[in-house]
Subunit: 214 residues, 2 copies
Amino acid sequence: MGKVRFEITMALDGYVAGPEQSEENPLGVGGEELHDWAVGLAAWRAPHGLEGGEVNESTPVVEESLANVGAGIMGRNMFGPTRGPWGDHPWQGWWGEDPPFHHPVFVLTHHAREPLEMKGGTTFIFVTDGIESAIAQARAAAGEKDVMVHGGGSVAQQSLSAGLVDEVQIHLVPVLLGAGVRLFEGLGDPPPQLEQVRSIAAPGVTHLTYRLMH
Amino acid sequence: MGKVRFEITMALDGYVAGPEQSEENPLGVGGEELHDWAVGLAAWRAPHGLEGGEVNESTPVVEESLANVGAGIMGRNMFGPTRGPWGDHPWQGWWGEDPPFHHPVFVLTHHAREPLEMKGGTTFIFVTDGIESAIAQARAAAGEKDVMVHGGGSVAQQSLSAGLVDEVQIHLVPVLLGAGVRLFEGLGDPPPQLEQVRSIAAPGVTHLTYRLMH
């Protein structure tokens, strides 16, 4: 059985999104800066349908992260900016017709909805009965491969505090956002225990991998 | 002229001390765990008057950090657990007769006090007119050497938000404290801008160095 992995880019002050998230600013004010390290990389651009890009110490980290993922889970706030019932013209995701996931993505929501099949192997499946169910369904869909917890912050916190995550990778960037959404908040008492697996320095980012002690 | 440097051990969730700091628990509940990476190192033990210890990837980081420091600054809460006027038998510091600093340490306080000369080259000088004055006095005392901002959290925040620090080193440990004192809080709007200098992986810690952009 594969691992349940979570990874996210985090500012040095712990924020994973800036304040005032919206359709125009999905990562909040200032949050775009978090991903500067990734968007110029060929290894990131290719799965997003973009050409060109550079190769550096982050390249093998990104390639390894994208490999061996059989399914994902995601919170509704990451899936889109709309709230409440889905309505007649429901939001189709941020990512256009061919999202960069290429695997089934289980979206946690309070509002039931039929699965949404996109191009390129991505299907969004809407789960209304909680994080444990979403991860169990994703594990079943992933088979021998890993399950990726795509985010956002709330789903990551729920997965971490429920002890459902095996490995966390933090892409730590030299940015102070000063406000926004923190990743490590409300993780229970005592909080989860971690073991450091590796740390890799790359231009504008340090890739930190931790194992969760169950 | 030397640099003004600040370094601190930080939990992955951003805390630099646990909750309920006291004389028994100077780093708060759970805070001792933050320094596990350091206390077994020969390079840390020697200046603290302790024998033995190991050598690993943290060794050159610690040696480099201790070298070339001509003066330090420190908040009263780091100097000791007492508050208010110093009284007739004033607190002499946590560190015994021969503190591990071996340079003049400027202690920020609201309560005037004569300098306190210890063994081994450490003198505590009490500064009542604020952080800029403390750093200016420390710079003058340090000459060509660096000034170290020893902490704690409040003095670090004041120095950072006033743009008085040139370089920050974070010893990031695989610990989640869940509560306590955060380093990166209230640093102004916009917060300081950082440039990543280097990241070094070592057992149980990642050493992260950033330059402050003035």
